[in-house]
């Protein structure tokens, strides 16, 4: 289809235009696997093991942002959720809710990104759905993906396995996605501005299977940022976490935007990061494995598990200490 065509309500009507949309946009990209012949549901081989199953919806604005778009984000989000549960991602569903008036060129770019991200993650888009809503009733594109993965036997993850002295690792800079999207939304025009880190963590998980017994817990710091994830890990428990501000990995552009907007980067989302808690003995080994992968090149130890009951504490650059609280409310700009 030509680039200037737009989605019409009839594209969701079930008639000729629906068929055209599916045949021209979906089938060429995803039609070779279980989607071949467009059955109502996907028939998948039973692996005879434990499965991991998750779902996530994506409503990001703007649809395209530095570093990615809603398409690769929708794949990475679900693949990462499966991965941090100790799963090997296998199949995805892809449900699109399109707004009347959406240009086919944007749709095409988003779907290309879905395909590229799925290929990179080794997952198959096995089933899907497309709906169209009237202009003003959606925001361009909403995407839902559900994912199925195989539970990796090497991992037994649980918050109750965390011990004092454990290390808190992350595979790269924090808050890049949150700051990139916020900067794009505020129309801040940067040269070398922040770029979203949207990406997959599944290879990082696969890479540390051999240390599985010493890996206590994994989580991806998305909404609410590292602060929310770390607080969840220790809330109501006998243990706490101590972070060092000097060790926080932050990209210069991300830090600059966070400073300008008065936002704590610990509160901002990442979309390609994995926070992993492990026994301190294996931490250097895991960091070494991760650093050998492009998505783990910036891996560092963020901090350690302490006996500081339920608290996440930051040792600041001045040597003071302060609480790292969970983010609250909307992210509001400064007024003076």
């Amino acid at each position: 289809m030509s680039a200037d065509k737009v989605i019409q309500l009839a594209h969701g009507g079930g008639g000729r235009l629906t068929r055209e949309l599916i045949e021209q946009e979906i089938v060429p990209r995803f039609g070779n696997g279980p989607l071949r012949g467009l059955p109502d549901g996907a028939t998948l081989p039973s692996p005879g093991e434990r499965l991991v199953f998750t779902t996530d919806s994506f409503v990001v604005q703007p649809l395209e942002f530095p570093g990615g778009n809603i398409g690769d984000l929708a794949v990475h989000g679900t693949v990462n959720d499966l991965s941090v549960c100790g799963g090997q991602p296998k199949w995805l569903s892809l449900a699109l809710i399109l707004e009347e008036g959406l240009s086919f060129s944007v749709l095409g770019r988003v779907l290309d990104s879905v395909r590229a991200a799925a290929d990179a993650c080794g997952v198959t888009v096995a089933t899907g759905d497309t709906k169209v809503v009237a202009r003003g009733q959606g925001d361009g594109i909403y995407v839902n993906t559900a994912g199925i993965g195989l539970a990796l036997p090497e991992f037994t993850l649980g918050l109750e396995r965390i011990r004092e002295g454990d290390c808190v690792l992350v595979n790269g800079t924090l808050a890049d996605h949150g700051m990139a999207v916020l900067a794009a939304r505020q129309n801040m025009d940067f040269i070398n501005g922040p770029r979203s880190d949207t990406g997959t963590v599944h290879r990082l998980v696969m890479a540390v299977r051999e240390f599985g017994a010493a890996v206590r817990f994994m989580r991806d710091p998305t909404r609410g940022g590292a602060a929310a994830v770390l607080n969840e890990m220790v809330e109501g428990r006998e243990l706490g976490i101590l972070l060092k501000e000097r060790n926080l990995p932050l990209a210069p552009a991300t830090r600059a935007v966070a400073e300008m907007l008065g936002i704590d980067p610990l509160h901002a989302a990442s979309e390609g990061r994995l926070i992993l808690i492990c026994a301190s003995e294996v931490a250097p080994e895991i960091l070494k494995c991760w650093r050998a992968l492009p998505e783990g090149a910036g891996s560092v130890c963020l901090g350690t598990v302490t006996r500081d009951k339920g608290r996440v504490v930051l040792e600041t650059v001045t040597g003071g200490r302060r609480l790292v609280d969970v983010p609250r409310g909307e992210l509001l700009p400064r007024i003076c």
Binding site: R311, L314, V317, D325, G329, R334
Partner: protein, 374 residues
């Protein structure tokens, strides 16, 4: 970011902490305690964010002052804004205001009940809003200290030149120096020195504090918002106290000039006249606010709609007034962290991103969340 990192250098910070500890010992040997008020909300937040309070000697105390424009806004102001929304006006406001409690309600509840309340990120957005809704009245909630007054009031000029007549300002501008004067005159409050605001000082200039330093014999040190700025500021204050001096010291000379920003001052003088203003918790301070000159009455919401702001009522147990005056630590308020939290704020000091209670809640370790009446 290099320019920022220089002001967060851990080694230099450690040196300042050592110097301040030495000053603290000398003061202690003389039996002296020093109460330093940080006037500005941004200082309060930076002090919390970098854990600076715990780096100071036991006998050097930082007290948070009235420097958050949201916190000192009287509930009656919110009541008037809600009343104007009830009359069909679009209320345009900075985000922090929408959760500030009025006498009976707030703007969030007003919006849920159908009031048209919109959050703006720039005052000019209010002009655009008025232009795109020519059949509606747009009321901009014009609050702030010297830092924000000039750009906010400039929208009157923008509206005049664009012939926009459906816009008005509900003003509650506040001035810092008269508030310092009122605090110093209150014998119940112990203030030995001021850590003076950074950005407000950029507008009013360092000379503005000279009368207070002289009259009340309090050191006034202007400091920036980075951790080294603050430590350097405290060091400067203690140096003056040890020598029994009381001068204005401008340590934020990279931004603040003695005469301030004449352009902003001229802009303020063009549109605004001094008025008596009500400060939440403090009461009326003479000539501590600014209102639109009579020539711009058509852009003054109170005059345009005949709806003057009257004093409102605050929650019976709320002690934000005492917190704002530095009489009470947030942690000593019976509501703090129990009834009053950032998710369910009772008083304005917990609402604003720069409020003292919000800073204590957000950054202080639980075992430091004990405090008392000073």
């Amino acid at each position: 970011m290099n320019y920022i990192d220089e002001f967060r250098n851990p080694e230099v910070a450690a040196q300042f902490v050592r110097l301040i500890a030495g000053q603290g010992r000398t003061l202690a040997a003389q039996g002296l305690r020093v109460h330093i008020m940080e006037v500005c909300g941004s200082h309060t937040m930076a002090i919390g964010r970098y854990g600076i309070r715990q780096l100071l000697p036991e006998n050097v105390e930082l007290i948070s002052g009235p420097g958050c424009p949201v916190c000192v806004t009287d509930p009656g102001y919110i009541d008037t804004a809600i009343a104007l929304a009830g009359r069909g006006a679009i209320i345009a406001t900075f985000g922090d205001m929408i959760r500030v409690p009025g006498s009976d309600s707030d703007l969030t509840a007003c919006r849920s009940a159908g009031g048209d309340v919109r959050v703006c990120y720039s005052p000019s957005a209010a002009v655009e809003l008025a232009q795109s809704h020519p059949d509606r009245e747009v009321v901009f909630l014009a609050i702030g200290f010297e830092t924000t007054i000039a750009p906010v009031v400039s929208i009157v000029g923008e509206a005049l030149s664009a012939e926009v007549r459906n816009l008005s300002l509900l003003t509650a501008f506040k001035l810092v120096p008269p508030a310092l004067s009122a605090l110093l005159a209150d014998t119940e409050i112990k203030i030995d020195a001021f850590l003076c605001p950074a950005h407000v000082s950029a507008i009013i200039g360092s000379r503005a504090y000279e009368p207070y330093a002289a009259k009340y014999h309090v050191p006034c040190v202007i400091a920036g918002f980075e951790p080294l700025d603050i430590l350097y500021g405290v060091h400067g204050i203690l140096g003056q106290v040890l020598k029994n001096e009381a001068r204005v010291e401008n340590q934020y000379a990279r931004v603040v000039r003695p005469e301030g920003n004449p352009l902003a001052q001229a802009r303020i003088a063009k549109y605004l006249d001094p008025v008596d203003a009500v400060w939440r918790g403090i009461g009326v301070i003479p000539a501590s606010g600014l209102g639109l000159k009579p020539a711009f009455a058509a852009y003054d919401s109170e005059k345009k709609f005949g709806l003057p702001v009257r004093p409102g009522r605050q929650h019976a147990g709320c002690r934000c007034g005492d917190v704002i005056k530095g009489k009470l630590r947030p942690t000593a308020c019976a509501l703090f962290a129990k009834v009053c939290t950032p998710d369910h704020p009772v008083g304005p000091c917990m609402v604003s991103a720069e409020g003292t209670c919000a800073a204590y809640f957000k950054y202080n370790l639980p075992d430091e969340r004990q405090g008392g009446v000073k």
